[in-house]
């Protein structure tokens, strides 16, 4: 039996997915319905579903952010009213999406596509594919969500001072705290506003407004001094990038 979870903040929107799924009741069981991403994370941890139907615009954290917080995300079919243009951004990924309102035929097609892919590849490679693809939301990122113990924290991007690479993780530093997140530097380099965050080193990215001074360290090497007093090493490329952004 395939286990699935429906995550959407509109009960009526979930009811249509449930209705369409009844035709497949012999193979697929809806094990949970969730109103938001928080409930979604809990339900996924509890039920370990094979497939989830996920809305994008939801309270507190959106569908993309919820996926980011999962260690091992299940297969996803997005159900959204986002326009087609915005969804083009991840059309190339192996994941399907259903534009609301969608027909039964379109729904069955998405399900069939997933079933076929599932038959070809085993679960772990599929999940690896999702992780590697680093699904990014089509709109500009204004906040970062992180897990902190059992809690989920939402950090507005303007509160981030700098980001540091740390093995398979990145450390995200705010004024008082540090958060670990299982992502790569290039993921943040691509998803944060490049006018606001500058990759100044292989392992460091700083928020431009936090910079107070650039100091020479030795011959040909420099460090960036942040308002908080933290010194960040600059690579040669990082130094020249910083200079060109600052127009000096």
């Amino acid at each position: 039996m395939i286990k699935t979870i429906l995550i959407d903040d509109e009960p009526l929107a979930r009811s249509i997915t449930r209705e369409y799924l009844q035709a497949h009741a012999a193979d697929i069981a809806v094990v949970a319905e969730c109103n938001d991403g928080f409930e979604g994370i809990k339900a996924i941890a509890h039920h370990k579903p094979d497939l989830i139907f996920l809305d994008i615009q939801m309270p507190k954290i959106n569908g993309f952010e919820m996926l980011e917080l999962l260690e091992q995300p299940p297969a996803v079919i997005f159900t959204t009213a986002f326009d087609e243009y915005a969804m083009k951004a991840f059309e190339a990924h192996a994941i399907d999406y259903l534009l609301k309102p969608f027909s039964r035929e379109r729904f069955d097609k998405a399900l069939e596509k997933w079933m076929q892919q599932r038959g070809h590849a085993d679960k772990s490679t599929q999940q690896a594919a999702i992780l590697r693809e680093e699904i990014r939301q089509p709109e500009e990122r204004t906040r970062v969500v992180v897990r902190e113990g059992g809690n989920i924290r939402i950090i507005p991007v303007q509160d981030i001072h700098y980001v540091e690479a740390y093995d398979d993780y990145v450390k995200i530093y705010t004024a008082k705290e540090m958060f670990l997140k299982k992502k790569t530097m290039s993921f943040y380099e691509q998803s944060l506003d490049p006018a606001q965050f500058i990759r100044v080193h292989r392992s460091y990215m700083i928020q431009l407004t936090q910079l107070t001074r650039i100091e020479p360290l030795e011959k040909d090497t420099h460090v960036a001094l942040l308002k908080s007093g933290v010194r960040i090493p600059l690579s040669k490329a990082g130094y020249s990038k910083l200079k060109s952004v600052l127009g000096i």
Partner: protein, 356 residues
């Protein structure tokens, strides 16, 4: 401003031609009188001299005027204007001289006077032609200026109207598609409710397309339209969304730009629904103060995670812009955050001046 610019130009040209003729008649009279009293000429010779040279100058002036019509003078061709005016002056003096020598060949006193004065005459002719050129240049320049001013005004007016229209018609596609999705869901299990929602959505859409940009509507009408919107949102979010609409006794008769309130409420609902997870109450209040209509829309928010930009998101920006275009004021829309411990609220205030 007269309605028809073409006829005003015609009238102006006709008056100008009369003034031009009058000016030359006056000059001819003065010159004839001066020649008679200063040089003891015969009146025939004096009159013929003044008439000939001034007619020639009038023709030259007219020629310059026409030339300027097609070659608008700038710094570049001011030299060519100088050459032309000098050439025309010389030509006038030359023709005058030939004609007078032929017509008054036996008048020794006149010929004597003419031979002695032609340098002065040339200089005077050039000054007259230069003066006329300058005057027609100014005339064209002013016309040009006036035309471009009018063009600019027209363009601004059109841009303003287009902008107002687009600001008013901004219907969020998200809202439409999600509503259609709700209808689709209802159609399977509760067809009567689906039909009702189609009705509500149609009435709402009709209300947004029918209205005129600049039109002011009463608050009562605007609230009726808003209720359609709220009813639809309640089908989608009935499990979380509560709304309260309050107004004093005089407010419903006051006027406001049509479709102004709905985007503010839409913004508040979105902000409230997506920034918190519990049940939310949106409060809409309308009051009369000092003859002005005061509107306020309240939604809950989470001060620890709310985006600072979010409060002045797209919905409010377009409302602010619309108020500016209609009233030329930027202080009519304000926002306020009440960060109380138990009930943090985001409030949007709008002041609508009541004109006549």
């Amino acid at each position: 401003m007269p309605a028809d610019p073409v006829s005003t130009v015609k009238i102006a040209t006709y008056k100008l031609a009369l003034a031009y003729a009058g000016w030359w008649v006056l000059l001819i009279t003065i010159e004839t009188y001066a020649l008679l009293t200063s040089f003891d000429l015969r009146w025939q010779a004096a009159l013929a001299d003044a008439v000939t040279i001034n007619l020639l100058l009038a023709a030259a002036g007219h020629a310059m005027h026409n030339a300027l019509k097609y070659y608008s003078p700038g710094a570049k061709n001011s030299l060519s204007m100088l050459v032309w005016s000098v050439g025309l002056a010389a030509l006038c003096v030359f023709i005058h001289r030939c004609f007078m020598r032929y017509a008054f060949a036996d008048d020794i006193v006149y010929l004597d006077y003419m031979e002695g004065s032609y340098i002065i005459r040339g200089l005077f002719s050039w000054l007259m032609i230069a003066l006329m050129s300058l005057m027609s240049w100014m005339w064209y320049y002013m016309q040009d200026q006036r035309a471009s001013e009018k063009r600019e005004q027209d363009a601004q007016k059109m841009a303003r109207e287009a902008e107002l229209a687009s600001l008013r018609q901004q219907l969020q596609p998200h809202f439409l598609f999600n509503s259609l999705n709700s209808i689709s869901a209802l159609a399977g299990t509760r067809p009567e409710e689906a039909r009702k929602m189609i009705q509500q959505l149609s009435d709402f859409l009709r209300g947004t397309v029918r209205r005129d940009d600049q039109q002011l509507v009463t608050l009562e009408e605007e609230l009726k339209h808003l209720q359609l919107y709220l009813d639809i949102e309640k089908v989608r979010f009935g499990h979380r969304l509560r709304t309260e609409v309050q107004h004093d006794t005089t407010a419903p008769a006051l006027r406001l730009p049509s479709l102004l309130l709905q985007p503010i409420v839409e913004n508040a609902i979105k902000f409230g629904l997506y920034d918190t997870t519990g049940e939310i109450t949106i409060r809409i209040n309308a009051a009369t103060r000092d003859g002005q209509l005061l509107l306020s829309v309240e939604n809950p928010f989470d001060p620890t995670t709310a985006q600072p930009r979010r409060g002045t998101g797209f919905g409010l920006n377009s409302v602010q812009r619309r108020l500016y275009l209609l009233y030329a004021r930027n202080d009519l829309l304000t926002t306020e955050q009440q960060e109380t411990e138990e009930n943090p609220r985001f409030i949007t205030h709008v002041k609508i001046p009541q004109t006549a």
